[in-house]
Symmetry: C2
Subunit: 285 residues, 2 copies
């Protein structure tokens, strides 16, 4: 297949490298708004050639949209407009509902398969890509009934070759759940980073004591604003509900700590310890 | 030296295992409120024998208090009361100001060295202990001028043998900083765990999509309530200030997201990205 990666960053690049490492008959085309990224992606062997968006889409069997989600929303209908009849387009964005809406009535809607791999790191750009990123990870496929059956079958078999597990759901359900298990984690981390950076103005040496616990909770604050700002916009309603619930939990902790109610904070933490069950599941994967 | 570990859990156990691995002439005594933990610590070779608190303290060259901080606060004056004239006591607790206050006027105050290793995991108990936990980590020593010089020298040289870096500060400064770079991280994680566990009641499959980002931010929610509830009590004032600042940052994010002000969320995240500088320092260690 001729496969175009539109946005050769962490996800698109890792998808290409992963597929290259198991099948050598595909040809990879890179499209990127940044000439530098495109050049690096070539140099790193992620893609074999660089093209313009239009030329790439028109000549591809598979188009992979792996840009920030605001760009996906804009490019998805444009891709379908010029996509050959027997070619497919997938996206790897962290939101889903808006894309489905954007092409709901497009005559070529069935050539689009809506995908979100539950994989990533806090790094971005082609240098951050590596062939094992998607291995053993979940791939969420949304609105599968809207995609052409034969195309869905081909795409799912590609993901399985990458050792991914496939789950199916609606775009609505995806966006509601992802607000809690991904988008909220990122905001909690960004806000934690800002809180301590702000305190550093008065207490110069505050980070001298930071260790692995701090590092773990604040790691996601390194994530790319270009990628995350449009995610927050597209999933704002679900994120707002999740954030409100999170702030309430924190206010509860604050009240309990202010009141010196050690029994109550103990009980709250016992409840939170139930997360062990969940984390065991994730670490097992 | 004969060294008593009062509370043979993650920290006390790792201190013993670390020291044993580089010097084999010490004799380790275990004291634990749980007979099971004491037995396991013996079986794992963390300590060589088990004794009662009183017998252990009276026969030791060095007493290490590594219990939850409410127990340290209670045991520290009792330890000094019966500690031989030429013996030393250190604690490894996550708060410092209350301990200094508790023994400020004790006639044997100078036999106490107030210590906090910036090391830990979300696990607890003797099974969680391992010899490398303290290696290359920070050891904060507080109120060093209140300790007998010769004893301080011996203890610091022990920490250096364990490849630790030593920092000195007041108990007040320690507690103010640690609220931001450790205690707040734990609360953010406990609250995040509670938020998503609570949502799970309505959305059964919500954790199916959780990945490494979620896992990283919520990992500390596995931490022991027995250990953390008394930390929150002893450092409540500093934690309350830090939590208030954190909640304000989250409210700011929520307002911006509700308003769809993508430029402002972008700028906030750019500021948060500055945390890279801090994390590079931690990861380098």
């Amino acid at each position: 297949m001729k496969i175009s990666i539109i946005g050769v960053g962490l996800l698109g690049g890792s998808f290409a490298l992963g597929l290259k490492s198991i099948e050598d008959h595909h040809q990879f085309v890179g499209v990127d708004i940044s000439d530098e990224n495109a050049f690096i992606a070539m140099k790193l062997g992620i893609v074999d050639e660089i093209m313009s968006f239009e030329k790439a889409v028109k000549s591809s069997d598979l188009v992979v949209l792996s840009t920030p989600v605001d760009v996906i929303k804009d490019l998805l209908p444009k891709t379908l407009d010029i996509l050959p009849e027997e070619s497919m387009v997938i996206d790897l964005g962290s939101t889903k509902r808006d894309f489905s809406k954007a092409v709901k009535h497009h005559p070529k809607r069935d050539q689009y398969i809506s995908c979100h791999p539950m994989a990533g790191t806090e790094n971005s750009g082609p240098e951050a890509a590596f062939k094992g990123l998607l291995k053993h990870k979940q791939m969420i496929v949304c609105e599968k009934e809207a995609s052409r059956k034969e195309m869905l079958r081909i795409i799912v078999s590609l993901f399985k070759k990458l050792d991914m597990q496939i789950s199916y759901m609606s775009g609505e359900e995806h966006d509601r759940h992802i607000a809690y298990v991904s988008h909220l984690s990122h905001i909690s981390s960004f806000a934690l980073g800002l809180t301590v950076l702000d305190k550093e103005k008065d207490e110069k040496s505050i980070f001298a004591m930071a260790g692995s616990g701090f590092s773990s909770t604040v790691r996601l604050a390194k994530s790319s604003p270009d990628m995350w700002a449009p995610i927050f916009t597209q999933n704002s309603k679900n994120i707002s509900v999740a954030l409100e619930a999170y702030i309430k939990q924190l206010q509860q902790f604050k009240e309990i700590i202010d009141a010196g109610a050690e029994d109550r904070s103990h009980r709250l933490m016992e409840k939170a310890n139930e997360i062990r069950r969940v984390l065991m599941g994730i670490e097992k994967d």
